[in-house]
């Protein structure tokens, strides 16, 4: 079937059109959809998009930083309020890809893509779908295949008390932009020198970005030094299900996961 493109001024209309069609996909930045079109993907013949300005906002709303789903990686880097996420956005593709790839699109990117989403997971983000209530990112990711028909309006990130508590590393063969061997995002709040409610998320170590729950539990109340993180490193691979792909084998990903976790937690750079 030849392709058709439908553009809607309102995101809710776009969402309804997407839900009503069996052969439509929603276009964010185009980096995934247009790739599929170029290769003759037969699973869809309709592209749905919106020009709704709500998807391009960045604003502080109470305790939440709200980022529109249409915000690109370049806009994340350029905007003062999202500056703490710049190190993450900078690892997504080269500058042309960053001008196109969107926060919303990254949510649906299949492993080993989706580095930005891993960071959002560590940040305890919520996503706001068109015509629906905010849901936790975790809930969205757990049912991602079922949620494929959702159109995301924005992402909400709880304000970080200490922006320096957020850390991120992406491990790739080509630096900084290559496809991830793995990535780790961590929020490491400290109370009186001890970790409290740390959140750790992995990218490319499973079918979708995953919380490293065993590591989080093992870090609770610990100090952020070699002795304090030893137990966490011992459980670093618990719950991961890494893919084997042309970038790296599952065996390799398992081997290096604790190495990079240690470097991230101790602030060691290579």
């Amino acid at each position: 079937m030849p392709m058709s493109v439908k553009t809607f001024a309102q995101v809710d209309e776009a969402a309804r059109a997407l839900a009503a069609s069996r052969s439509a996909r929603y276009l964010g930045g185009g980096t995934l959809i247009m790739r599929a079109v170029n290769y003759g993907d037969q699973s869809f013949d309709t592209i749905i998009r919106t020009t709704d300005p709500r998807l391009k906002q960045i604003a502080q709303q109470g305790e939440m930083l709200v980022i529109g789903a249409g915000i690109t990686m370049s806009e994340i880097i350029a905007n003062r309020e999202t500056a703490f996420l710049a190190p993450v956005a900078r690892t997504v593709g080269g500058q042309a890809i960053r001008n196109m790839a969107t926060v919303g699109g990254n949510l649906f990117a299949a492993s080993p893509y989706g580095d930005f989403t891993a960071a959002l997971l560590a940040l305890d983000a919520r996503i706001v779908p068109a015509g629906g209530q905010p849901i936790s990112l975790e809930e969205f990711l757990n049912a991602r295949e079922r949620n494929a028909g959702l159109v995301i309006v924005s992402v909400q990130i709880p304000r970080l008390r200490d922006v320096n508590a957020f850390r991120y590393v992406k491990v790739s063969r080509v630096k900084p932009k290559g496809i991830a061997v793995m990535s780790i995002a961590a929020v490491l709040p400290m109370q009186a020198g001890r970790l409290a409610n740390a959140r750790i998320a992995h990218g490319a170590l499973g079918p979708r970005p995953l919380r490293a729950l065993a590591v989080e539990r093992a870090l609770e109340g610990r100090s952020l030094d070699e002795a304090g993180i030893a137990q966490a490193l011992a459980v670093a691979t618990e719950g991961i299900d890494p893919p084997s792909d042309p970038i790296a084998s599952d065996w390799y990903r398992r081997q290096i996961a604790p190495v990079h976790l240690k470097r991230l937690l101790l602030g060691q750079r290579r």
Partner: protein, 566 residues
């Protein structure tokens, strides 16, 4: 930056260099920076059609049936091309030089032998229409056992990959299932050696991955020719291959190449032009056939994988007195250039070293992998990697400085090489000395003093009095009437036109009888438009009758079968 070491071989050349070391601008540089260098795809045509292929998802499968009826009815589809539409659907690239047997179809007919092998070609108004039509083609495959490893493929009982070579090896010189090299007596020397060092070396296939993918556009010209823009590195190979497979006179093919967006050996297989021209013949329109990136990486031929076993016989003082090779080239499902790569590689053995006893058996093996082709240093790079890795292993085994080991065993001017040519203009010793200097790697003074010009020749210029030969690997019943050899009387082809002429046919040009032929004409095949094709060429009366050679045996490759004199 280039550093000139003019002290070496100073009296062998004049050092007034006018080009080397001086920057000379490329003639196409202005085109490159203005985006105007004309790659094959940088030509616009009215009514351009696109050609895409349905490809095998299996390593190895019999094709039971192909149903293209629905695809043919899809909007925008102009022609669906099947194996039966290809005028000559079996070829090997080097048949243009009478080397090898035709073994590869343009479109798979009875079976597929590698993942990605094309089965059906669809020509349509847009790429999208091609994809949509391909999705509607139904192919009934019977999956067959496959083999992906060279040594597995030559074991008895392995799946037979290539119907032309049922035992999965290319047939060399109509005799052996591998290419042999024999110089001296390796087995005897190994028995005398102080040390025997064995090694196994393996290279994976390497994809050339040029930034520009392979492709061609073929369009009708109004003078009964087809113009073809192509990415090929081998314009005349492509032209000859197209003429052969399409049974069309080469003077009806107007090939334009020139600017290639990276080749590195990956654009020598002449895959796209015959298909694009066929699409053009069958539709009467310009047809573009180009690989997308996934096809370039999966279907496009890589440098073939190689596996080498090397056994050296070494004396305590570091002299290597014997070197034995067993090599396996993974040709993939079809021959293409691997057969020739082995000839080239064999001529290179045992590397730039003078070793008095050398033997080599190299197999061109067919597996159900993507057919392999050339890439930088074609035929040599793989075995050189193995040789040099092995030299390090030898050095380690006998406790010798690896660079001194190389200098000691290096060939020198006047030495006899294993393929019975005298070495000249050798320079390995000097290269090793400079490398040692640059790497600050200590070598002894006696090694610093050695030279490629000293110590060679004399006894070292002799072919060994005794060379051990064997008949291992002879194909049973081999001889002029055996497997693979099919003598054919020469029949010049008649001009052919497409079954549905795309344009009014132009009468064939007939030279006047009194015109005198060009010098040497009696050695050429008669012109395609000769009025009465007959089985032997009759020269025009003004020339003394010179019978043309009977078409040579299909496997002869004259420069290595010993008929050419040096």
């Amino acid at each position: 930056m280039i550093e000139f070491r003019k002290e070496y071989f100073a009296d062998e050349r004049d050092d007034n260099l006018n080009e080397i070391g001086k920057p000379t601008q490329r003639q196409d540089m202005l085109g490159h920076v203005t985006g105007r260098s004309p790659y094959f795809d940088d030509h616009l045509f009215d009514g351009l059609l696109h050609l895409k292929c349905l490809r095998s998802p299996h390593h190895h499968a019999r094709i039971r049936s192909v149903d293209t009826s629905e695809a043919e009815r899809m909007p925008g589809v102009k022609k669906v091309i099947r194996a039966r539409d290809v005028p000559l659907n079996l070829n090997t690239l080097l048949s243009l030089m009478d080397f090898g047997l035709d073994d590869e179809p343009m479109l798979a007919d009875k079976k597929v032998c590698y993942v990605g092998e094309p089965v059906v070609a669809v020509v349509a108004e847009t790429e999208r229409a091609c994809f949509d039509a391909i999705a509607k083609i139904r192919v009934d495959y019977e999956v067959l056992p496959h083999v992906l490893d060279v040594e597995e493929a030559i074991k008895p009982g392995a799946p037979s990959v290539n119907p032309t070579y049922p035992t999965n090896t290319f047939l060399y010189h109509e005799k052996y299932d591998h290419q042999k090299l024999r110089f001296g007596d390796v087995e005897a020397a190994l028995r005398q050696a102080d040390h025997v060092v064995e090694g196994r070396y393996q290279m994976s296939p390497i994809e050339q991955a040029p930034t520009e993918t392979c492709g061609a556009i073929a369009a009708p010209e109004t003078n009964n020719r087809f113009v073809v823009y192509t990415s090929t590195q081998a314009l005349f190979f492509s032209l000859g291959t197209a003429a052969k497979m399409l049974k069309v006179s080469s003077n009806r093919l107007h090939f334009i190449g020139g600017t290639v967006g990276g080749g590195f050996g990956g654009k020598v297989d002449s895959i796209h032009e015959p298909m694009a021209i066929l699409g053009c013949m069958l539709t009467g329109k310009p047809v573009r056939y180009a690989w997308d990136r996934e096809e370039e990486m999966q279907v496009g031929a890589p440098r073939g994988a190689e596996r080498w076993y090397i056994t050296d016989g070494v004396m305590n003082d570091g002299r290597i007195i014997a070197r034995k090779f067993t090599g396996y080239f993974d040709s993939g499902a079809y021959t293409r250039l691997s057969s020739y790569a082995i000839i080239k590689g064999t001529g290179h053995l045992p590397g730039p070293y003078t070793i008095p006893n050398v033997s080599s058996d190299v197999y061109c093996v067919f597996t159900n992998r993507t057919p392999a082709t050339a890439m930088r240093g074609f035929g040599i790079t793989g075995v050189d990697f193995s040789i040099e890795a092995h030299m390090d292993k030898v050095a380690s085994k006998i406790g010798m400085n690896p660079i001194e080991l190389r200098i000691l065993n290096s060939y020198r001017d006047g030495d006899m090489k294993a393929h019975r040519r005298l070495a000249k203009n050798t320079a390995l010793i000097e290269c090793c000395q400079v490398v040692a200097e640059k790497a600050k790697w200590k070598i002894g003074n006696e090694y610093k003093a050695m030279s490629s010009l000293k110590g060679g020749g004399g006894e070292r210029a002799l072919i060994p009095a005794h060379t051990a030969i064997d008949q291992k690997g002879m194909v049973r019943g081999s001889g002029s009437s055996s497997f693979g050899y099919q003598p054919q009387p020469y029949v010049p082809s008649t001009p052919t036109f497409p079954s549905t002429p795309a344009f009014p046919s132009v009468p064939a040009y007939t030279p006047a009888a009194s015109s005198s032929p060009a010098p040497g004409a009696s050695e050429r095949r008669p012109a395609e438009n000769a009025p009465t094709p007959s089985s032997t060429y009759t020269p025009t009366p003004s020339q003394p009758a010179t019978p043309v050679e009977q078409r040579p045996a299909v496997n002869r490759f004259s420069s290595i079968s010993g008929l050419r004199r040096r």
